[in-house]
């Protein structure tokens, strides 16, 4: 795969670091949302209605947010893959500096 990012090695390194951090943090966040952690209650976009009839609706909201986090983590994994590819390609193309 050609280096789609067309940026220098430093940008690719930044992208790699950001992607790694993003994958780890978003996966963990997703897990914590999935477990319905009380600490994250403020981040769930609930309304007044969701507090009726027991916690089930809140739990569904929690799970939806967790799926969003996993999607974002997956996107970051893709981004990290691109950065890695770009870096490996560039390394092969570069002459001895």
């Amino acid at each position: 795969m050609a280096s789609l990012l067309c940026c220098g090695p430093k940008m690719a390194a930044c992208g790699l670091v950001l992607s790694a951090w993003g994958v780890v943090m978003l996966v963990l966040l997703g897990i914590f949302f999935n477990v319905h952690s009380a600490v994250l209650i403020e981040d769930v976009p609930f309304t007044e209605e969701d507090f009726k009839d027991g916690p089930e609706r809140i739990y569904r909201l929690y799970e939806q947010v967790s799926y969003n986090c996993f999607i974002a983590a997956g996107l970051y994994a893709l981004l990290g893959g691109f950065s890695l590819q770009g870096r490996l390609n560039k390394r092969k193309e570069y002459m001895v500096r």
């Binding site: 950001l18 993003g22 600490v39 981040d43 939806q64 799926y67």
Partner: protein, 834 residues
């Protein structure tokens, strides 16, 4: 103890170097980097020193190296050792031969352009001669129009072939020179020869390189035809004045053609020769470029050795160089070994030797560090280099500095990022791209990589204590507070919940609070609205406790100084009152804090006494009815403590000066005073005088006063002691308050972190459909960038600065003088030669 505890013993020594082996001995010493040489000829200017000629030659060689190649120095890991004088001569010869090669090549190149020019102009003029009938003779435009009969050259119809009809022989000169002087030359020719010449000027189509200066000049070629020998001589003289290159111009066509072909073949030969020479020159230069870095290092080392030799003095017999050096006592045998090797290498039979000499000056400070401790030592040295053999605060700073930083920075996520960044730097510390970067800011971070590593590790620890990870609490253990129990007990109805936005969990109700959280702060506090009320109380008390412990430790470190410098009276007369003052007042405060934490629980929360009011009442000797005592007999205990503290102030103020006064009086009345105290007088002066950051060497060395001067110094001692007392007593109060910055910065960090999460990251969770996942990607990127920029870099630097200030001012002014100077050994270290 190891050398990090206090600086090493350094002595003044004299080196006796044979003239013949001086160079190689100094070279050996430079390779090992042990000694600092002192300048024995301070009053001699740089131009009058003995080895100034050698230094100049080395500098010239350096200049040649730098201008002849732009190749930057490669890696110096295998820096070559210096060699002797003869080798330097060879180097000079090599360099001069190279420059002469260049010159000779240039010279041979210089002969070509005129020939080529001559050929070219020959070709052009001969073609113009062929068409001479058509072209009019050029006439100087400014010459006045003369009558047609006046001079034959003016007539427009006369052409070159017409000249052959004239009686006189017409000889032509072919010359070339630069364009700028054409007009002047023309004018002069015209005026001098009064028109009895025919000149045609042709500009060369392409510029050619002047061999002498190397710049490309456009040449103008002119052909002068004239009649008469005298005119010819005039023209020759004029063209000599103008520095023209002149060539004879053959008359007949055939000879012209011959000359042209001859010149062409000459040009060809010359160009072949030039090509070969260029190739050879390129080869020679390639070889030189390979050897150039090594030569450069050699020359730099040579220059350094001669600069050192300039600092030595010659003895009377002119056969021996004497050098005065500061040498660590531990290395004296190594120095002797180096001298022996140097003498052996230079082949002299007499050995050089080193001899220790006594001195009353204060020697420089030498603390040997490795790559780990170098960072911590440098932040201590930035405040002031330790005085000779003073106790060194660096080994304690290895732990206290990262810990105090971490208290202000406590967050697991940020600490982890910092730790990983430092770990990367540490693992790749030997990579040359990291080591030899030119960016200064990066180099600063790289030098402190172990510092940052420890700071990150400790921040993870304090992050777990504060229970903060990117401003979110982690529920490692189940929370100790039970909301369900409280709800059941209070039977909150829906109406009640609707009208009361905040609910209180009362720990007095059984089952609501099940005991303290095993490690750190309970995660339920991150959901509580009175989160800050609880944390503020906790963090302020923690800051005060840590501050008093840190300062007490600083005062205790003074014990080592007093014992080492044989000033045991200071133990009783200074250390004891200082400790009593600190502990009676602020140690008691620490005790009150812990006592209240232990003795009072949620059951007595309504009637719990306020420590602050008790503390104020202690000083004012009053009491407050509403404030219950913490324990029985509190008031008399506090009174005793305050009296003790106040009593220690005059002891601190007058103790040492009176003691010294008595000692001095005893010495003057003839009784043998203890020798140690007298000998240490200079050091005592230095200690007193050097209590400020910028005390210079002269202050420290100002010992050696005569006994008469001691009486005057008594006033000085008194004043210094008074300043010290006031500084200490007021400092105790203000420095304790200063430690509250630990609370302030940790609060700021926590709040910034929370704001960043609430205002940036939360926006990524708002959308509930699957588009939310895509939106979360740029939101997280923004969160990451802002975290690094604001929370890691800005807050990190801020916490670093405050931790540094707490060490430099609050901790070190309890025991540290810092008025020394570093031992800078003469060494050929690789990173010094860039």
């Amino acid at each position: 103890m190891g050398s990090l505890f206090r600086s090493e013993e350094v002595c003044l020594a004299q080196l006796f170097l044979q003239s013949a082996s001086a160079y190689s001995c100094v070279s050996e010493l430079g390779e090992r980097g042990l000694l600092e040489f002192r300048d024995l000829n301070p009053k001699v200017s740089a131009f009058q020193r003995r080895f100034v000629g050698e230094v100049r030659r080395c500098e010239e060689m350096e200049k040649t190296f730098s201008e002849s190649s732009g190749v930057p120095g490669g890696c110096w890991s295998r820096a070559p050792r210096t060699r002797g004088h003869r080798w330097r001569g060879r180097l000079c010869g090599c360099r001069s031969s190279r420059s002469s090669w260049r010159r000779s090549c240039g010279r041979s190149a210089a002969t070509v352009p005129p020939c080529a020019g001559a050929c070219g102009s020959c070709a052009s003029t001969s073609t113009s001669c062929a068409r001479a009938s058509a072209s009019p003779v050029r006439r100087p435009p400014w010459a006045p129009r003369r009558g047609p009969g006046r001079s034959p050259s003016v007539s427009p119809s006369s052409t070159l072939p017409c000249t052959s009809t004239l009686t006189a022989r017409s000889t032509s000169w072919l010359a070339s020179f630069t364009r700028g002087r054409v007009n002047a030359f023309e004018r002069l020719l015209w005026r001098a020869c009064r028109g009895y010449l025919v000149a045609s000027f042709v500009e060369m189509p392409e510029p050619m390189e002047d061999p002498a200066t190397g710049e490309s000049i456009t040449w103008v070629i002119f052909l002068i035809s004239y009649w008469g020998e005298q005119i010819g001589q005039k023209i020759r003289k004029i063209s000599d004045c103008f520095h023209c290159h002149t060539y004879p111009y053959p008359e007949s066509e055939a000879s012209r053609a011959d000359t042209m072909s001859g010149l062409h073949s000459q040009i060809q030969d010359l160009s072949v020769v030039l090509e070969e020479t260029e190739q050879y020159l390129a080869q020679v230069l390639d070889k030189v470029v390979l050897a150039l870095p090594a030569w450069r290092v050699q020359v730099q080392k040579m220059k350094a050795i001669y600069l050192i030799l300039n600092q030595c003095s010659f003895d009377v017999t002119e056969k021996c160089l004497i050098a005065e050096v500061w040498c660590p006592v531990r290395d004296l045998t190594q120095v002797q070994d180096a001298l022996r090797q140097g003498s052996y290498k230079s082949g002299s039979s007499v050995e050089c030797f080193v001899q220790r000499i006594p001195t009353s000056e204060s020697p420089p400070t030498l603390i040997r560090t490795n790559k780990f401790t170098a960072g911590f030592q440098s932040i201590v040295d930035a405040y002031g280099v330790a005085s000779y053999q003073e106790v060194n605060p660096a080994p304690y700073a290895i732990i206290t500095f990262p810990f105090i930083f971490a208290i202000m920075f406590g967050d697991v996520g940020h600490g982890l990022l910092m730790f990983l960044f430092a770990l990367w730097m540490v693992l790749y510390e030997n990579s040359p791209s990291l080591r030899q970067a030119s960016n200064e800011i990066w180099l600063t971070f790289f030098e402190g990589r172990y510092l940052i590593l420890l700071m990150g590790a400790f921040s993870i620890y304090t992050g777990f204590i504060y229970n903060e990870c990117f401003s979110k609490a982690t529920v490692i253990f189940p929370s100790a507070w039970s909301v369900a129990t409280m709800a059941n007990h209070s039977s909150w109805s829906s109406a009640y919940l609707a009208t009361h936005p905040s609910l209180t969990l009362d720990p007095n109700v059984t089952g609501v609070f099940q005991g303290p959280y095993p490690f750190g702060i309970d995660p339920i506090w991150s959901l509580a609205t009175n989160h800050l009320n609880f944390l503020n109380s906790f963090k302020m008390k923690m800051s005060v406790v840590l501050g008093i412990v840190h300062m007490g430790f600083g005062v205790l470190l003074g014990v080592f100084n007093h014992v080492h410098f044989q000033q045991r009276h200071r133990l009783v007369l200074e250390l004891l009152p200082e400790m009593v003052f600190l502990l009676a007042l602020f140690g008691y405060l620490v005790f009150l804090i812990f006592y209240k934490w232990v003795k009072f629980s949620a059951a007595d929360s309504l009637v719990a006494p306020s420590i602050l009011i008790h503390f104020i009442d202690m000083f004012l000797f009053t009491s407050n009815a509403g404030n219950l005592p913490l324990y029985r007999g509190q008031v008399p205990v506090q009174t005793v403590l305050v009296v003790l503290a106040l009593a220690s102030v005059p002891v601190l103020l007058l103790g040492t000066p009176l003691y010294l006064c008595c000692q001095q009086r005893a010495a003057r009345t003839g009784r043998p005073a203890p020798v140690t105290a007298e000998e240490q007088e200079p050091l005592l002066e230095g200690q007193e005088a050097g209590s400020s950051v910028n005390a210079t060497k002269e202050d420290v060395e100002s010992g050696g006063h005569g006994p008469d001067a001691k009486h005057l110094d008594f006033a000085e001692i008194f004043m210094h002691q008074a300043i010290h007392t006031i500084e200490y007593c007021l400092g105790c109060v203000s420095n304790t308050a200063s430690y509250l910055r630990l609370w302030a910065l940790s609060l700021a960090h926590a709040q910034l972190s929370e704001v960043l999460w609430t205002m940036v990251m939360r926006n990524g969770f708002v959308r509930l459909n699957y588009v939310g996942g895509v939106v979360l990607v740029p939101v997280f990127a923004a969160f990451a960038v802002l975290t690094v920029a604001i929370l890691l870099v800005m807050e990190g630097l801020s916490a670093f600065l405050h931790a540094l200030r707490l060490h430099w001012v609050e901790f070190q002014n309890k025991f540290y003088v810092g008025a020394g100077y570093k031992l800078c050994p003469f060494a050929f270290a690789p990173n010094a030669w860039e």
